[in-house]
Symmetry: C2
């Protein structure tokens, strides 16, 4: 493609800039959505930029309009439809109407069915020009977790796995990383964005990871840690256990283990087992209940980091929304640990995105489930 | 990247054109290498193009110089060092010296250790300017099969597999294609280039494929078919069997099966079993012997199309040089047929190349083997 020349920016350029800004709120705004906004004057110059920076703090539009003061005849770009209701903060709609901007360009409508489209109608009634749907796919992707949570009260589930080309998640040296440094950095960017990091008890027992975010930036967000552990096999001295962790188990887990783990400050969350066709799968947690419980606590997104048993359980309960698969260019053969055991569903990526990361490959996308024959 | 403007072509452009031409010989020149050549006059205009079109026919340089007549002061581009010896045809070197060209640009040197660099020295002694190594990696890739065959007398082995992201080569519908149409087309382009297509007896028994080349072009090359079949389980009525096929078996295969299969016109090639640490693996063919036998017949390249048992055998005998792995964005789980069974070696790609083919991904590259612990 030809290099962009230094001519006037297009609405798409402005919206992409607003998306960039929005992403700076990653890890700090939930259970609000990430939102970015810019103000462009009549000469087509950006006069102010802003983003929603922390939950409970001012919204992106408010921050920008307060800074810019009155901007007669300008255009406001915002990745998400502005709010028209009083929540933690007063509605942005009023501020826009008072600001003097003549046009509002919106990435995507508010996914909340109660408020969806209302602000657009109010702005138009007030005589402003409103464009909706600029860079819509990217703006939708930005709020995919919020969208699921606000419409289903369950968190969005992103499963991340690093594996060989033949789907093996451990190498001969068992706990070496299979994938490269670029892949590792992407994983920590995911942790920075997600409310919850979730692993199975086997990962805790074998690797004893901290499950924190390690990135070369000062403003770090560490997701809370959720350990799936039907029988409470997690050792109480595990590094991941603290006041910001939840251990999910069955009621049948030994009482003395519940007591020992509760002392670490971790919450013990008891859920029922999974039932299929009336048959109880005693060892398997009911993930619908797990997701509902976490959603009720205001968590909008979960990063599931495996291993095999956890991925198998999630797929068999159709509970993963999006996959991030990091592939290392290797073959390990059938003697190593696979990404999943036998599945009741085939998993298909609807519109996979491929990104080359040095000699590794990231394949990511939403997935659908198809009953195996 | 900026679009190439319509200025003078660079030597790299000329050599890439010569590589393009060379590839037109794919499937018809073996056991010679593919070679492409162009002649550029003093004004920097291409005045003739040529390629080696069929084994035993004139070489690329001869065809071009015969067509162009004398080209005083021009430059000859050729992907491979011109021959200086009389083989099936008289040496090209003499023709170049007589042609009037002042400069020769060569992609890569003759891999044959006996003639390597000799023509370059002869051209320089005669006062011509010679540049070597323009687009060398691409010119080397063009002759990778010839290079291996001329230096080891064994054919180059390219393994092709289409699979899910978790390394499964069959879907629930068993004999559906897992990968997409673009991947299938690439497979048939591979068949067009390779001397031999090789499969295991299981593939013949289960799928009964024709193993021919299906491409929308008139000049098709069909590789000869080699079936690896220790115990000669291949049914005599299989579509792949004819005078252009070889069935490889152990001496222990039943005599009546040998007779039945020989009647189809296929050659029955008997090889010893594989030995490891003195222990004979009775069912497993000794692939070194297979490759030596096929190399001795003048075949320079083999396309191995699996299944699981064949890939496992090839990897455990470190016999694959290059992999083409076509990935479909799906997960099938552990209950489906894997690309390999347990391996004695990890397989690492040295410099993997990633190509997106719609929603499929091709990962290709040379591989190295590392003993598993």
């Amino acid at each position: 493609m030809a290099r962009a020349t230094k001519t006037a920016h297009t609405p798409l350029d402005f919206m992409q800039r607003a998306i960039q800004l929005a992403r700076r709120g990653a890890g700090f705004v939930q259970s609000n959505p990430m939102v970015g906004s810019i103000l462009v004057n009549r000469q087509g110059k950006i006069v102010a930029e802003s983003y929603h920076a922390r939950f409970g703090g001012p919204h992106a539009e408010r921050r920008i309009l307060e800074r810019a003061g009155r901007c007669l005849g300008g255009t406001l770009y915002v990745t998400l439809e502005p709010c028209g209701h009083t929540g933690k903060t007063p509605p942005c709609l009023d501020l826009i109407l008072k600001s003097g901007v003549k046009k509002v360009v919106i990435g995507t409508l508010d996914p909340n069915p109660i408020t969806h489209g209302k602000s657009v109608r109010a702005l138009r009634r007030a005589g402003l020009t409103v464009d909706v749907g600029i860079a819509q796919a990217d703006c939708d992707y930005l709020i995919r977790a919020f969208r699921k949570w606000i419409t289903t009260q369950q968190p969005f589930v992103l499963a991340k796995v690093g594996m060989s080309l033949d789907g093996k998640i451990t190498s001969a040296g068992a706990y070496h990383y299979i994938t490269n440094q670029l892949a590792l950095q992407r994983v920590h960017q995911l942790r920075q964005e997600m409310d919850i990091i979730m692993v199975g008890a086997n990962t805790i027992i074998q690797d004893n990871p901290r499950l924190n975010t390690r990135l070369a930036q000062t403003r770090l967000h560490h997701p809370i840690k959720v350990i799936l552990d039907s029988r409470l096999r997690t050792p109480p001295h595990s590094k991941a256990l603290d006041e910001r962790s939840i251990v999910v188990c069955l009621d049948s887990a030994p009482y003395y283990r519940k007591q020992a783990l509760a002392k670490t400050g971790a919450e013990i969350l008891i859920v029922p087992p999974n039932r299929q066709r009336g048959k109880m799968l005693f060892e398997q947690l009911n993930l619908s209940v797990v997701l509902a419980e976490l959603g009720a606590r205001g968590y909008t997104s979960i990063l599931v980091e495996g291993g095999s048993y956890v991925f198998t359980t999630f797929i068999n309960q159709q509970a993963i929304d999006e996959f991030y698969i990091f592939l290392a260019p290797r073959l390990f053969g059938a003697a190593r640990l696979p990404i999943t055991y036998a599945l009741q569903y085939d998993v298909n990526f609807s519109h996979p995105v491929f990104e080359q990361l040095g000699d590794n490959m990231l394949i990511r996308g939403y997935v659908s489930y198809h009953k195996t024959r």
